[in-house]
Amino acid sequence: MSTISPPNTDVVWAEVEAGFYVGSRSGEFLGYVDVEAETKNVVCDMYSRPVGEYASLAEAMHALESLQPSEEGAATVA
């Protein structure tokens, strides 16, 4: 049984199906976490561009929540 739960931020997390989680803030998508294996949590931004792979869902969610949009519209992990 997983004990993962979203950190106390202003990000709304939604489970579309088990292993696919979408984060949004103030109605704007941040991106999503696609759990390909227990230790392979793939993070992509709102344009489906890869951000990184993380060993846990919690790390992956934190990475997406820390994403900062750049001036060019691309996003980088803060």
Partner: protein, 163 residues
């Protein structure tokens, strides 16, 4: 001749206006993969002939369908869907006019969705439940976007795997 739309009354719609609609319904009996395949073949043939695109989601005996196309064709299709004895409790969740398609590559896209075997993780919204229950426009709209995003990601993966 330009079409009109129920929400805009007799005001003519701009050329190329599409009706974008999301509805939910409940299957009368369990749909197995072969039933879904037959339904998709039928839907795709019809949709292609009338310029409708969209996606179908099915989980826990519940359908969510996104449709977009010429307003008169979407209206006619919804009338047929409402009379289809294979499902019940048809509810329109989102109904708006747009000039751009979200699913122009799919006459009726479908990706298998895992049935919910356990509860959603604590603190997470449940996109499928949110759109099906449709508590308010904000939640329904957000859930619709989440489901559309999920479909695109899954469809992209399936296409890469098949290549």
């Amino acid at each position: 001749m330009p079409e009109s739309h129920p929400t805009t009354g007799s005001v003519p719609l701009p050329e190329g206006t599409l009706r974008s609609l999301v509805y939910s319904s409940e299957a009368i009996t369990r749909f197995y993969q072969e039933d879904l395949d037959a339904l998709l073949v039928q839907a795709r043939a019809h949709n292609e002939s009338v310029g409708i695109t969209g996606i179908l989601l099915y989980k826990n005996d519940q359908f969510i369908q996104f449709l977009e196309g010429p307003p008169s064709e979407v209206t006619a299709l919804m009338e047929r869907i409402g009379q289809d004895p294979r499902h019940t409790n048809v509810r329109i969740l989102i109904d708006e006019l747009t000039l751009e398609r979200q699913f122009d590559e799919w006459t009726m896209g479908y990706q298998p969705m895992k049935n919910q075997s356990s509860t959603v993780l604590p603190g997470f919204r449940d996109s499928f439940a949110d759109i099906a229950q449709s508590p308010d426009a904000l939640t329904t709209g957000r859930a619709a976007k989440e489901l559309a995003l999920w479909f695109r990601v899954r469809a992209g993966k399936a296409a890469r795997a098949a290549a």
